[in-house]
Symmetry: C2
Subunit: 448 residues, 2 copies
């Protein structure tokens, strides 16, 4: 609101801090945002911040690509550089956070759009094994080391284990896309495993918190979440497919431009919301919507809902610019959320504990990849692709810190583990692909 900003400049007395505070203290807590919005939270500052995020992400991604490094590493680094770790220019405000959330669900939507459901189901059993082993082992390793070797408290040890279980589906997917292996066989297995890992993560976090609050655990609740998520994944793509037929119809008869972007983004947002309501991670809602609209989506039992390749291409053509606009915001925000300055680099405990945890974190996921006996290089790549903890690990660690379960040293160690697991595997995966070109062809299908 440019006029408003102008006046705020001229007359700070009208809407000042005290007004906002008054709102926050006396009214419903939501009024806090309301007040800031009413006061015309400086739009031009937001524009500048958003521009800096978009441009820095792009420049770092381009440099990364020139250096033969996955572009996503550049985007994460852009956040680290702009954020409190280095320059301290930007803090992720609420609005940026929400745009980042849209970015990640749109990315998962795009992944779903390019996923072949038949192949996903075909590799389902392998994905399940990779996910389960790669989830249980890091948890057990992390807990055991913390509890028995580092003498941490029971709850702290459980939380360290929990932090090590997370896989960042967004980073995993982007790394494989940057290396142009998103359609390979190993990418298929990893995708399914990362989806399952996210679900298990939600269940584990809920259980840990129940334990923290009540001292006990309800397996019924955990079972309910798993059941809901299962039903969601069976039904959501069918519902989304039916809605997409409606969208196609209206797109043909409307006179107002912009039907596809508005309708498809609404659909994705709706499914993200629905996923949350049901107890699943929001980004899986975006994934389910993408699956349904995929040109390779076929209904079971031979039910014939004809797919329209022309419409599919139209959706891709109009949605890609939107997706490409939003997704870098997400990765930059992950980098912004890191604060490497907070870490006391002189503490011996932090070094020893974080390096042990890092080794266990990699080992657990790696064994998950190797268990399915895909042949050495492919198993290693699958395991490595599951290693990045990214934003999911950060949320675990942040909750542990705020609730007092993780003290500052353990928290700092977790941050180091998250940084190492996020930034190192892409390089090794890239090296694996160059080292074993025969075992890991560009189009994984050729070798199946």
């Amino acid at each position: 609101m440019n006029y408003l900003d102008k006046v705020l400049f001229h007359l700070p007395d009208i809407y000042d801090c005290s007004v906002r505070q008054w709102y926050v203290m006396n009214e419903h807590i939501n009024m806090c945002e309301g007040a800031v919005a009413e006061a015309g939270m400086e739009a031009h500052t937001f524009f500048l911040n958003l521009m800096v995020i978009l441009l820095t992400a792009r420049v770092f991604a381009e440099v990364a690509a020139r250096l033969q490094v996955p572009a996503v590493i550049g985007e994460l680094l852009a956040g680290v550089v702009l954020g409190p770790s280095l320059l301290g220019w930007l803090a992720p405000t609420e609005a940026i956070h929400l745009l980042a959330e849209i970015g990640i669900i749109l990315l998962l939507f795009e992944v779903g759009l390019e996923t072949d459901v038949t192949r996903l189901i075909a590799t389902g059993a392998k994905s399940f094994l990779v996910a389960t082993v790669g989830f249980v082992l890091p948890f057990v390793f992390g807990f055991t080391a913390s509890y028995f070797f580092f003498d941490l408290a029971l709850l702290t040890s459980l939380f360290v284990g929990g932090t090590l279980t997370a896989t960042s589906i967004g980073i995993t997917v982007r790394v494989l896309t940057d290396l142009q292996r998103q359609h390979s066989h190993e990418a298929q297995v990893v995708l399914g495993a990362a989806v399952l890992d996210d679900v298990m993560g939600v269940v584990l976090l809920a259980m840990l918190y129940e334990f923290y609050v009540g001292g006990g655990i309800s397996y019924v609740n955990a079972g309910k979440v798993i059941l809901f998520v299962g039903v969601f994944f069976l039904l959501a793509p069918l519902v989304a497919k039916l809605i997409s037929l409606l969208i196609k119809h209206f797109d043909e008869v409307t006179q107002i431009p912009g039907m596809i972007p508005t309708a498809i983004v609404s659909l994705v947002l709706f499914f993200a919301w629905l996923a949350h309501v049901i107890g699943a991670p929001e980004l899986l809602g975006g994934f389910a919507a993408g699956l349904a609209l995929s040109r390779r989506f076929f209904l079971p039992f031979g039910m014939a809902i004809s797919t329209h390749p022309g419409f599919g291409r139209k959706i891709e053509g109009q949605m890609k610019p939107i997706i490409h606009l939003f997704t870098p915001i997400f990765f930059v925000t992950v980098g912004l959320s890191l604060n490497l300055r907070e870490i006391d680099w002189s503490s011996a405990f932090i070094w020893i504990f974080s390096l042990s945890a890092f080794i266990l974190a990699v080992l657990g996921k790696l064994l998950g990849g190797l268990i399915i006996r895909e042949g050495g290089p492919r198993g290693v790549v699958i395991g490595l692709a599951m290693v990045p903890r990214g934003e999911v690990g950060l949320i675990f660690a942040e909750l542990g810190r705020v609730s007092g379960i993780l003290n500052s040293e353990v928290h700092a160690a977790m941050i180091i583990v998250i940084v190492l697991t996020t930034f190192l595997p892409p390089f090794i995966i890239k090296w694996m692909y160059r080292r074993y070109p025969d075992a890991l062809p560009v189009d994984g299908d050729a070798k199946r």
Copy 2:
């Protein structure tokens, strides 16, 4: 942040109101947002709200189009229905407000993109007359009526006059686009006039506030703003054009998709920010960027920077989905900002005052349109197109209310004037086009 929401659900004690209040009261005020962001301000609620806004806007726009009414009326009504006036389902939060702001600057970018600079300059003198007369008369009329006939205070009367001067460039432009007259001669005149009106509005608001604070007015400051804006409008398109050549170069060499949406949106955000810094309305920054990238942009003095029609089409193809996604958010937000329930409909003063002000508001703009002697129907359409006050009037009125310059009755009357001026003219313009098809051809150029 889905994990976080989950935990918030299970353990409200960690991040509760008191934590947020503590932040607000003890830390820098910006921490308020920070805290909300850290607490993972419920992303799923935001998704649902955004989806409801997008879908309702679309449904109302479609119904409006079927009823042969400009679609923008539907989008505004969607906001009125969802907002406090009727259902009270949605309040415009900070994030929604910021998305709406992006929507309006992107809309102005699109308008600039489709504007022929040569023609804009050719109709410049007419636009200047329309803007000046349509600015001065409503101000004088509004002030005179308030001060002499309704016995309001001096500052209140000045503020009423100020509220009546505003023209909502966004609504004006959308109405003509919905009627497919955005390339007509009258649209050209109106566009230039609306841009000038926005600049005058900023200057007036700054002057009124100086008067309010200090009791006097500095003409030097007002002159400085006008000078800056003039320089901005001369230089910005040239700079943007040079940047666009850079973007074109990088778009050709990059290996990472998404160059155009990120680079162009960054450019638009940057110019919106720059406009604000210079003292101009932000949306004029978007307009300047659009002008520069227009396929009809030619530099003065015969300077040859070749325009690339292919690149222009690529920009349009990739930017349109983004523009169409964001702009409805703006118009819905305008509707959401209205609260028709606040008005005491039984007050005789409100009725008499608002109807008088409405007549003067229309008359002032109408005379502005008629002064350039374009022939009856065209002059009337130009005048009517300048009538909608929309969000610009709302900002004036809201500031008047918060600062205590407008009491609740006068404020309510202003809201009624804004609603009438926003919703009525589109119908009359539409009717004019149907009544005088010969004087107002679809392609205005044919008649020139």
